[in-house]
Symmetry: C2
């Protein structure tokens, strides 16, 4: 049920994910109290871009970082190599829908920029919920590409983003998933669902965000869909180039860029009755 990773597995993509993690670390990784000695599952760790921030946010946790791609896991291992807390992370190669863990094995699940690539996000969340102990919690973070508002406005730039959304949808994913985290978690049987928007806003008065988010995160993310968009006949090389150029123009003086991430917290209910009450799958 896992679909192809629409952004690909190139070196540039790995760097993009790392830049993104750095710029967004404070925005995305704050707001939850660390759990003493918690057993944490990072579901879909990819190249480990978020793992160091998870180690920092959970300074006594033991993290099991899982991904379906052996290559990504290898990069994640390399990234953590020499990290003072590397022994707190165990890497496991497995599919999200066939994880080699017993029910109730974890106190917390962290899943970030993963659900957007899955054809069955509710089933994935339900699977993850069964790996949580009763009362265990989940943090789910996703973007929503329709939240990209920029100045100067550009039909070409909007078309390039729409092409990425379309390519991701064709691969079974949903690049607009952020807005529906709350109903997804409810349907997967979680309780106490609480979703918060976390908005990035960059203009000339915030040059670090212009660089770290617009130039080094968002534009390369859209760029990563170029091949698939061209192959699918959604765009032409000329229109694509115009779209990327116009996106880059929003990083110039006088330009602005807005993007919203959605960060959700939720709990695996403590009683079977509550689980039944909440589960609508």
């Amino acid at each position: 049920m896992t679909t192809a990773y629409v952004h690909g597995y190139t070196e540039r993509e790995s760097r993009r994910l790392s830049d993104q993690a750095q710029t967004l670390a404070e925005l995305l990784h704050t707001g939850t109290a660390p759990r003493q000695g918690a057993r944490v599952l990072e579901a879909g760790c990819g190249t480990g871009a978020q793992t160091p921030y998870l180690l920092e946010a959970e300074p006594t946790a033991h993290i099991t970082a899982v991904d379906v791609s052996r290559d990504s896991l290898e990069r994640a291992r390399e990234r953590l190599d020499g990290h003072p807390d590397e022994e707190r992370v165990a890497f496991v190669h497995a599919d999200l829908f066939d994880l080699p863990f017993a029910a109730g094995s974890f106190d917390h699940v962290f899943v970030c920029f993963v659900l957007e690539h899955l054809a069955a996000p509710v089933a994935a969340l339900a699977t993850l919920r069964h790996l949580l102990r009763p009362g265990g919690t989940i943090t789910a973070i996703e973007g929503d590409h329709a939240s990209a508002l920029f100045h100067p406005r550009s039909a070409h730039a909007e078309e390039a983003i729409a092409a990425l959304v379309r390519v991701q949808a064709d691969a079974g994913g949903d690049a607009l998933i952020g807005r529906r985290l709350q109903p997804l978690l409810e349907k997967a049987g979680f309780s106490d669902v609480a979703v918060e928007p976390r908005t990035v806003y960059a203009d000339a008065t915030r040059p670090e965000l212009v660089q770290g988010f617009v130039r080094e995160t968002f534009v390369p993310m859209v760029e990563s869909a170029r091949g698939a968009a061209l192959r699918a006949g959604i765009t032409t090389p000329e229109r694509w180039r115009a779209g990327i150029a116009d996106l880059e123009a929003t990083a110039a003086d006088g330009g602005t860029f807005h993007y919203t991430f959605f960060r959700a917290g939720a709990t695996n209910p403590t009683t079977a009755a509550a689980q039944d009450r909440n589960s609508r799958t």
Copy 2:
């Protein structure tokens, strides 16, 4: 240069503005330290929906509330009638581009949901800047209708919002102005421009916001453009009804709604040189 107020001047519209002010008061009116005994200009106070919150945020200020509509001013007066601080507000009927005040008359300008209706927002901001003393400040708040993300998604609902945006553009305004507050303020010669997104997010776990924002603010705001959209031939009664119904469906259980306001602060430079350096009009 002032354009027609696209939402109209009905009783329902007045109630919508009041509901909106209440739900959004905390979101929009926090973040600035009150100024002792400041002379504050509320430019475009409309029916005074924001005025009580401005009185609260500036507990010692003297507020001059200006609007181009005599009817709106009358309602604003009625709204403030009996308010414990009503003597701190003076209402003045005038056009934003022809205000009867000397240069440097104010310490602070507050302008909220006004620039979106103007054909020349930079000229309006420059006019307001000249009414500020050197070192005086401005707070400008605007929405951006493209930030409306909702679940369930609906092409009809998106079309209804796009119709409102179009009607407002045809009247010379810009319902997507929020994203460009920073360059607008810079061009009008302000310094120290700082823009913050203020995001409203509502789902079943936040019933007050579903009611106060989705049902009582956003949907009625779109509804207010119905007549103009029909007259302009942008929509049909059937498509409009479907759009409004789908927007209302986002307020049902399992629905979500996201909207971003932009709140800007800026300063009138203290020296003429700085003003020249900053002014690009």
